[in-house]
């Protein structure tokens, strides 16, 4: 039984109100009310890690500091994802409103949109929107100085502490956590870092209310979620869907009728093979960055994995050995098996290596390599060898 994925129309819903009305309306309520509303909505961070947004804002509000920052993480580098670009182009006001509301409830006065370098062509339009925001924020008496910070091209800077390092003029190497940015962030000050979609979703919670918002999604993942869909699909693009659908339903709706595998959650996520489509639920235990790549029967999964590993080997920041060396060894390893220089059993050793990378790497990059690696190697073992 394949149910159709449920389309939702919250984030992209058009509604004709004056600019920054959500912000103005929200500021008529108390800060405590807003935080409580966000916590009750069940909204989790939309960048992939999934930390409850209301709690993050609450902790930030509790920090005693005269300087606090709000940063919108628009360093969308996960292969297969482009939803943040669409948000910044189509509904920038919802994103900026979310940031402004966050600034208001946490007491932050400085804000940045950390825009990935690859999206530099968005700067002019985005700046116009920020200028408009400045006019409206003055009207409501919000003191929040928002600017764009342009990244310089590094996938790992999507990791919040690496992002902060790069803003401080250093190599984008992830920091040890704790302390978390909420205590010790940009230039040592309390900093809220949220994904573009998280800010847009937060402003939607403020607009429609927690009760309405949490009608969507699963017990674990409330609300709508944007999916970037690419690959062997006649419907590539960004879709707002409800979490909790099976991969089977997803493939039936978005595949080309011959879907062999679906990569859920980008290269850092899992590759689901056809035989598991019915039992795999998107948003339930799966990572939720929203990138979904669809592969049909004509694709070589060896090529897919090789492409992923090549990406990882290039984007590892090099700070810790398991990740730096591990990525390269996995790449060389599958090449050696393919060429017959190593026996098929060597794949099992590589699986162990990828598992140790998960256990010993410092940040999400090195820790997540094993997700795609093990799911592809285990499910498409034949293709790795012959």
């Amino acid at each position: 039984m394949t149910n159709k994925p449920k389309k939702v129309d919250i984030i992209f819903s058009p509604y004709s109100v004056a600019p920054y009305k959500i912000l103005k309306d929200t500021m008529k309520r108390t800060k405590e009310e807003i935080i409580a509303e966000l916590i009750s909505s069940g909204l989790r961070g939309r960048g992939g890690a999934g930390f409850p947004t209301g709690m993050k804002w609450k902790f930030a509000a509790e920090q005693k500091s005269s300087v606090k920052y709000v940063i919108c993480n628009a360093d969308e580098g996960e292969p297969g994802t482009f939803k943040d670009r669409k948000l910044l182009v189509e509904v920038p006001r919802k994103v900026i409103s979310g940031m402004a509301i966050c600034a208001w409830v946490t007491g932050a006065t400085e804000g940045f949109i950390y825009l990935r370098r690859e999206y530099k062509y968005l700067v002019n339009e985005l700046q116009k929107e920020i200028d408009l925001f400045k006019v409206h924020s003055k009207e409501v008496g919000l003191n929040f100085n928002l600017q764009i910070f342009l990244g310089a091209g590094a996938y790992v800077c999507g990791e919040e502490t690496a992002l902060l390092e790069s803003m401080e003029g250093k190599r984008g190497e992830p920091r040890n956590k704790p302390p978390y940015p909420i205590q010790d962030g940009f230039l040592g000050k309390p900093t809220v870092v949220n994904n573009v979609e998280t800010f847009a979703s937060a402003s939607m919670v403020c607009r429609i209310g927690a009760t309405e918002y949490k009608k969507f999604g699963t017990a674990d993942q409330r609300g709508s979620k944007l999916f970037s869909i690419s690959g062997d699909s006649p419907k590539e693009g960004v879709f707002e869907l409800e979490l909790g659908m099976s991969v089977e339903a997803f493939a039936a709706e978005f595949g080309d009728g011959d879907t062999k595998a679906v990569q859920v959650g980008g290269v850092a996520g899992f590759c689901v093979p056809r035989k598991d489509f019915a039992k795999a639920i998107i948003g339930d235990g799966n990572t939720t960055g929203g990138s979904t790549m669809i592969f049909n029967s004509s694709r070589s999964m060896y090529k897919v994995l090789h492409n992923y590993l090549d990406f990882y080997a290039e984007e590892s920041c090099g700070q810790c050995t398991p990740c730096r060396i591990g990525c390269q060894q996995l790449l060389k390893g599958i090449e050696a098996v393919k060429k017959g220089e190593k026996p098929a059993e060597y794949l099992d050793q590589l699986l162990k290596l990828s598992e140790s990378m998960r256990l010993t790497s410092k940040c999400g990059l090195g820790q997540s390599v094993t997700n795609s690696f093990s799911s592809i190697v285990t499910n498409f073992r034949e293709e790795m060898i012959y």
Partner: protein, 156 residues
């Protein structure tokens, strides 16, 4: 070099001389000079009062802060999986034959450099590329010839 010095002084005035100004300053240099020369990095180190190794270490970390000489137009072709599936190889081969250079090289007249890059976030419209800051999607060999024709004839 005099020009570079002047440029760095202007950038330092605009962005400040704290460590956090490093990225915007380096980006400003790349925008004008297409890459970070040894001289420019040494000068930045002096102006920000940090070691040259720190400047190079940071610059070399980021893919858009080129420390190798580049042409006036840097072409970055996306090599992520979905662009690859949609024919990236053919696109690259066409660019190589139009510009008569290989990946990583710069044309003799220093007009174009050709590079590959990781995900450009244009996966639903692949194959995709950037030429400096402008993006081009759904590329075909015909489109490539047309686009580069316009650049070569200075129509862009």
């Amino acid at each position: 070099m005099a020009d570079t010095k002047e440029l760095i002084t202007t950038l330092a005035k605009k962005h400040g001389v704290e460590r956090k100004s490093l990225l915007p300053i380096l980006q400003g240099i790349v925008e004008k000079e297409n890459f970070l020369s040894k001289d420019s990095m040494l000068e930045v180190a002096k102006v920000l009062d940090i070691s040259a190794a720190e400047v190079y270490g940071t610059a070399s970390f980021f893919s858009f802060l080129d420390t190798k000489e580049r042409g006036q137009y840097v072409v970055r072709v996306c090599k992520s999986m979905t662009c690859d599936m949609k024919g990236k190889e053919e696109i690259l081969a066409t660019i190589e034959s139009v510009l008569k250079i290989k990946i990583g090289e710069t044309t003799q007249d220093k007009k174009f450099s050709l590079l590959e890059t990781n995900c450009l976030g244009l996966c639903d419209e692949g194959p995709a590329m950037l030429i400096n800051d402008d993006y081009f999607v759904k590329l075909t060999p015909e489109k490539i010839r047309e686009i580069f024709g316009r650049y070569i004839r200075n129509e862009i």
